[in-house]
């Protein structure tokens, strides 16, 4: 929005974070090169600047890491819960102390705005470690019987959209319950996991309890297929999740999958409209829409469609897209060229299928990977943009006439991760929430997270729960 009140640039300083020119794999408490010496580069998606060169783990490295985790498991699992808790509390505090540094790092490597890493990602990372630290000595009282046992070595593969937060979701419950970990961060965002390795050393965590193996899909495949891994946890796309399910089928490995979504944000005509608009924006443009539980389908009651869309368009024109390190940036960069290509092609498909595309006037930077916030109206259930997960800042607007129709449309997807309900009528919230097949249903808010609240999917959005008491079950032999 052009205005007399132009905000001057307010960049967060990069000086607080010291990124080394190269990083090794983190195995058995030491940084080490890959056995075959392979490396890959990680770039800043906002500028395409190369940030660092990272060792790329191969099968031999997976062997070493799993062996290190197996060796560490014996002592780690035998520690009293209160002792394990001490390490987790220490990690949580170090994350808090280094939160500004980690926020800047994450913004550089991922492309998301500093506002989000500072106010959402990092506080949640620390909260997750604090929360599961609290469980470590109370497992007898978690509802799984006396003295529940850990599984062993957990092989964990995490995505690039919330690199450090997804690491926290995976590592905190695993360690609290006495497992040891081999974790593969995504190839486009390995840095915060490697900084986390340093935090493990700073916290004095015993060697081998946490191992970090940067790499591509083949590294992840080797990890989940490794015969000495007892537990596989994956967050990422449904296609890869299906492959993993096939790999572990017939083995004794316990599996949890947190996959894609096509969340419906349902706005009834008695909704608090101004707050609903904020919730819609937060639901689909938070982290550039690269969120598995994004509210990527807006289901709006026909009687308030025009009013709501006018408000939404006006609000979108105030979004500030640009330098992710600027404290006033609302929309940052798309994480990778590959993802940008995917978003672009799905949006083109939406246009060619006849949906009406709209974006606010918005200048995109010349370098880096960018996509303007985008709305599709005149969308029907048959459109690709209403069915496929786009994983980008693209909202498909559909309408409904009655609550039953809203529920039917919301559930008419192979996914079932999240949904939102906007109405001032409490009884309607309860009635609709009961009928939605989604792991998380938010009412009059969206994308709210808390470590005490379990998170996970129905149908092709995966199975197993992360967070809360339920999140312990995935890492216990129960």
């Amino acid at each position: 929005m052009a205005s007399a009140f132009e905000y001057a640039p307010a960049p967060e300083s990069r000086a607080i974070v010291d990124i080394a020119p190269s990083y090794g794999l983190f195995i058995d408490g030491e940084f080490t090169e890959a056995a075959d010496g392979r490396v890959f580069k990680t770039v800043s998606p906002a500028s395409e600047e190369v940030l660092s060169e990272i060792a790329q783990a191969g099968e031999a490295d997976v062997d070493r890491a799993v062996l290190a985790a197996r060796k560490a498991f014996e002592k780690w699992s035998a520690l009293p819960g209160a002792e394990r808790a001490k390490y987790l509390f220490r990690i949580a505090r170090i994350v808090q102390e280094r939160s500004r540094e980690l926020a800047v790092l994450e913004t550089l490597d991922n492309g998301k705005p500093i506002k989000e890493t500072r106010d959402a990602d990092l506080p949640l990372v620390a909260a997750h470690f604090f929360y599961y630290a609290g469980w470590a000595d109370k497992l007898d009282h978690a509802g799984f019987g006396a003295n529940p046992r850990p599984l062993g070595v957990a092989g964990q593969v995490i995505p690039w959209n919330f690199p450090l937060l997804m690491l926290a979701w995976k590592i905190a419950p695993a360690l609290a319950t006495g497992n040891t970990v081999v974790l593969k961060p995504a190839e486009t965002t390995p840095l915060s996991a490697l900084f986390f390795a340093d935090i493990c050393r700073q916290a004095g965590l015993p060697k081998g309890v946490v191992n970090i193996l940067p790499g591509y899909g083949d590294t992840g495949a080797a990890l989940v297929a490794h015969p000495d891994v007892n537990k596989v946890a994956f967050t990422g796309s449904t296609a890869v999740g299906k492959e993993i399910a096939k790999t572990v089928a017939g083995s004794r490995k316990k599996l949890t999958l947190e996959l894609g979504g096509k969340g419906a944000n349902i706005v009834f005509d008695d909704a608090p409209i101004d707050q609903a608009v904020e919730g819609i924006v937060n639901g689909i443009f938070f982290n550039q829409g690269q969120v598995c539980c994004a509210g990527s389908r807006l289901l709006v009651q026909e009687s308030v469609q025009d009013e709501l869309l006018d408000s939404l368009k006006r609000r979108l024109s105030t979004l500030r897209l640009g330098d992710p390190l600027d404290k006033n940036t609302d929309i940052g960069a798309i994480n990778s060229e590959e993802q940008l290509t995917r978003i672009t092609s799905l949006v083109e498909r939406g246009e060619s299928e006849g949906a009406e595309r709209w974006s606010p006037a918005c200048e995109l930077p010349s370098a880096g990977y960018w996509f303007a916030p985008t709305l599709f109206t005149n969308v029907t259930q048959a459109h690709t943009v209403a069915r496929d997960e786009i994983f980008g800042p693209v909202l498909s607007v559909l309408t409904f006439r009655t609550p039953d129709e809203a529920v039917a449309k919301a559930n008419n997807t192979p996914y079932g991760l999240s949904a939102g309900i906007w109405t001032e009528k409490g009884s309607r919230i309860l009635a609709v929430a009961n009928k939605l097949r989604a792991g998380v249903v938010w009412s009059n808010t969206f994308n709210k997270f808390d470590p005490a609240s379990p998170f996970g999917g129905y149908k092709e959005s995966g199975f197993g729960r992360e967070g809360g008491r339920h999140g312990l079950e995935a890492y216990l032999d129960v």
């Binding site: 009140f5 307010a10 101004d274």
Partner: protein, 317 residues
């Protein structure tokens, strides 16, 4: 009576029941969401040139206020001089929008700002409680206007509002507006801290606008909770929606509790990102404040010179 609104919504005020139905049919306000939005706007980082712009804009929007039992002509003259030239060491500092005083001080204030663009605003209608017969309230207004007030800051009858007697509140505002005539712009104070819920604040905002308010104003500064970024955001949404429906633009004035430059800038960000630059002007947005001005001036000096001067380098009135 109910004759104020010559716009698209005129029939809303035809009777008690139409008015009630309209006000209760406004979209609800989710308190958590509203406060979260206001807090998120509060994290905007306003630096360098943007800060300089915001400080000068904020100074030009101040209704420099003294509303004490101990007010004297001397105090009011000092206030007037300060409003006209806030920083005696720097003539580039803009004047404030207005001085705001009790009705018996209007003539004194008028003389003190004579020849300057600074307006004289007077509280009236048995400020701050508003607990007086209508005839007394109207006499209060007429006296202030006769003494030269450019703006009248009235309080609504919160008792009638909370009792659900919306038409009474409406008609009282209409009567006060008539008493203001064409000479004075009318600011309608809701005392949001006493209305207590955001739904009430939205209803009061529409009620005030339907009745002919030129400005809607949060509070008197005399109760525990006064202007907040959230209630001001809500009132800005109301004036935005009212203009969209009627074409009539209404001003907004948060008052009470805004003491620092940081606070004032947060409010300006809320204005900028809710209603945009049409309201970034002291004809449409004001701060009701007394101590705010000195902090704005100190921050202005800091920006200009690179160092903090201290409270002895701005005038104490």
């Amino acid at each position: 009576m109910s004759t104020a609104a010559p716009h698209a919504l005129a029939d809303v005020t035809a009777s008690d029941s139409t008015l009630r139905r309209f006000l209760h049919g406004l979209p609800g306000v989710d308190a958590v969401g509203l406060e979260a939005r206001a807090a998120s706007l509060g994290t905007r980082s306003i630096k360098t040139t943007a800060k300089a712009y915001a400080i000068d804009l904020a100074i030009s929007m101040v209704d420099l206020t003294t509303l004490e039992g101990a007010d004297t002509p001397g105090k009011v003259r000092a206030l007037g001089a300060k409003a006209v030239r806030p920083d005696p060491t720097d003539r580039t500092a803009p004047a404030t929008a207005a001085v705001c005083v009790y009705p018996d001080m209007v003539a004194t204030a008028k003389a003190a700002v004579a020849g300057s663009p600074v307006k004289v605003a007077s509280v009236a209608t048995a400020f701050p409680a508003g607990r007086a017969p209508l005839a007394v309230k109207l006499a209060d207004v007429r006296e202030a206007v006769a003494a030269g007030a450019d703006e009248i800051d009235m309080v609504i009858d919160r008792g009638a509002f909370l009792a659900g007697d919306y038409l009474k509140v409406h008609d009282e505002i209409v009567a006060v507006k008539e008493a203001c005539g064409t000479a004075a712009r009318l600011k309608v104070i809701f005392e949001t801290g006493e209305l207590s819920t955001y739904d009430n604040i939205r209803r009061a905002s529409w009620l005030g606008m339907l009745a002919g308010a030129d400005f809607i104003k949060t509070s008197t500064g005399k109760v525990a909770v006064n202007a907040t970024p959230a209630n001001t955001l809500l009132m800005l949404e109301a004036v935005r929606d009212f203009r969209a429906q009627t074409g009539v633009q209404i001003g907004v004035k948060p008052a009470g509790g805004i003491r620092t430059t940081k606070d004032a800038i947060k409010f300006l960000v809320v204005v900028n990102e809710t209603v945009g630059e049409d309201w970034l002007d002291n004809h449409w947005f004001r701060f009701g404040a007394s101590s705010l001005l000195n902090d704005l001036l100190m921050q202005r000096q800091k920006l200009a010179t690179g160092r903090y001067s201290g409270p002895d380098y701005v005038t104490v009135d």
